[in-house]
């Protein structure tokens, strides 16, 4: 559904040429929900804007829904829904009017647009707001209108650029719910960018981590966490020296740290390793006082890959 090869984009600024995207290769199959995760300035939006025909790439090629983004831009535009970073809901126009305008822009007939507008107003819980202007809506409502606008012509691919940035936690959760529901009911291909770790983790079937204009990891959230971060086991034992020795010998053990009576170790598949750990301690006559497994987050993955925390860079 989405393919890109060697996609590059640089911008000229006063300070010189900035390479925002440095060679993006991308394949998204029909029906996938893929998230681009990365800090601000990683090149996520620039990538999306190239895929949605808004920005010509400096180098490389991309096709969306079977059409080249440069040579067949109009065909791409007919097949995609694009929800940009800004609130596209509009200021002075009434919500339902704006949906109808969007329908007309997407070459729908008036009757089809009216039907679809009412359907989306119901689906995205916008009933009662039809005659309100864009600027009178709350942040969460605006975002739902933006999504409705992107969905008017039932596109085959929906691009969402930072859909929940700036929303309060409640509105964010509500928005996710809508996106997940939409995904289930339509099987639409969804490509979203986010700098929220939990958003990528909970919603996406596949996460591409982007940093500095490049994709540095690409897998399901589970596999990324298991392969690149692992589970952190901590054990308090009456003989921590023995515990640390055992920990170091566990399969694929990393980052063994002893701090007083506490020993920490990072392993793959913590649930299976922990009983083994405890049994080994038993056999050596050490008594376990407390045990804990911490599942990794995508932030641990990002930290492992870049040495930086995404939480610090995210704003």
């Amino acid at each position: 559904m989405i393919h890109a090869r060697g996609l590059k984009r640089s911008f000229k600024t006063k300070e010189g040429v900035v390479e925002a995207v440095r060679g993006l290769d991308l394949d998204v199959a029909e029906g996938e929900l893929v998230a681009f995760l990365g800090p601000n300035g990683a090149g996520k939006s620039t990538s999306v804007r190239m895929l949605t025909t808004l920005l010509p790439p400096t180098e490389g090629a991309a096709s969306v829904a079977g059409h080249d983004v440069l040579r067949e831009a109009d065909a791409v535009r007919r097949r995609i829904g694009y929800v940009g970073q800004g609130a596209g809901a509009g200021g002075y126009n009434k919500l339902r009017d704006e949906l109808l305008t969007q329908g007309a822009a997407q070459r729908m007939t008036g009757a089809a647009a009216a039907r679809r507008a009412d359907e989306l107003i119901g689906m995205l819980e916008l009933t009662g707001l039809e005659r309100r202007t864009g600027m009178s809506l709350s942040g969460g409502q605006k975002r739902r209108v933006d999504i409705a606008l992107g969905l008017m012509h039932s596109p085959s691919v929906l691009f969402l650029d930072e859909p929940s940035t700036g929303l309060d936690p409640h509105s964010r959760a509500n928005l996710w719910e809508h996106i997940v529901k939409l995904r289930k009911s339509t099987g639409m291909t969804i490509f979203l960018t986010t700098h929220y770790l939990d958003e990528a983790d909970q919603m996406a079937e596949r996460v591409m981590i982007m940093d500095n204009g490049q994709v540095i990891a690409n897998d399901t959230p589970e596999r990324l966490k298991a392969n690149l971060a692992g589970d952190r086991i901590t054990i308090d034992a009456d003989n921590a020296i023995v515990a640390a020795e055992i920990a170091a010998n566990l399969p694929e053990a990393r980052e063994v740290v002893r701090d007083g009576a506490r020993v920490g170790v990072t392993v793959k598949g913590g649930e299976a390793v922990l009983p083994e750990f405890i049994r080994a301690l038993d056999q050596r006559g050490a008594r376990v006082l407390a045990a804990n497994i911490r599942r990794p987050t995508l932030d641990d993955v990002f930290l492992g890959l870049t040495g930086r925390s995404l939480r610090e860079t995210a704003t």
Binding site: L54, R78, G84, A104, A105
Partner: protein, 249 residues
């Protein structure tokens, strides 16, 4: 065909909020009315207030048009920043149609305002020449659409520096108006000012409007006005279309 449909879509989208809240159109009339009330009595162009009005009102509606449309780019700047324009650019809609529809819409508020001004001045002695005056309004509408398109092009060019939009639009509109002899007869001024005014396209439009308001129709002065209005529309819309075609925001 789809091009015209897109122009209509863009036009309707801009027109609806204007119709829903016409109060700002009335607000736009405040400045010209103040001029009519507090400035016209100071004019000495022929003797009576009626003569002064006949001379001053056409200039005033040109001013209304110029200032009303030179700043419309600001609304596009807002939509550029908020992401509304980008949303339309990601649809198959014709890009020039987005600018054409908007610019054509600007014809209507200014024509209505100019009409209101004429009707307000009527009881104070303004002589009506309905056909010539309606033709004058049509010229203004054409000129206004061109200026609006230029203003939109400027908004797109200055999208990364919005204060630039204000600086350029203000520093172009005001000298054009002053040099167009809108407020006072430029013939009475020093020679250099008169010569400078001959290089100002607005001068010819103001003179054509004055001729029309005096009841002329098939004269050279009016023809010059037609050429200036049509030329502004063609040049403005072409530049606007080019600006949005190239725009990758």
């Amino acid at each position: 065909m789809t091009f015209f449909r897109d122009v209509a879509t863009s036009f309707t989208r801009e027109m609806k909020p204007t119709l829903a809240d016409p109060s700002w159109m009335a607000f736009g009339l405040v400045q010209p009315i103040l001029y009519l009330a507090f400035f016209v009595p100071l004019l000495d162009v022929g003797g009576s207030t009626a003569d002064a009005l006949q001379w001053f009102v056409p200039g005033m509606i040109v001013m209304l048009t110029l200032f009303g449309t030179a700043m419309v780019g600001w609304s596009l700047t807002e939509e550029l920043m908020s992401g509304v324009l980008e949303r339309f650019l990601a649809t198959p809609m014709s890009r020039p149609a987005l600018i054409f529809g908007r610019s054509l819409k600007e014809m209507f508020p200014l024509a209505l305002q100019a009409l209101a001004l004429i009707l307000l001045a009527w009881p104070f002695g303004l002589q009506l020449h309905p056909i010539q005056m309606l033709f004058g309004l049509a010229l203004l509408a054409l000129f206004g659409a061109g200026v609006a398109a230029l203003s939109y092009a400027l908004a797109i060019a200055a999208r990364h520096n919005t204060s630039l939009f204000y600086m350029v639009s203000q520093s172009v509109a005001l000298p054009l108006m002053l040099l167009g002899g809108v407020l006072l007869p430029i013939e009475n001024g020093p020679g250099w000012l008169y010569i400078a005014s001959r290089f100002n396209p607005l001068t010819y439009l103001v003179e054509a409007e004055r001729a029309l308001f005096a009841g002329e129709l098939f004269t050279t002065t009016v023809l010059w006005g037609v050429l200036i209005a049509a030329g502004t529309a063609v040049v403005g819309l072409s530049i606007g279309a080019k600006a949005i075609r190239k725009a990758s925001l």
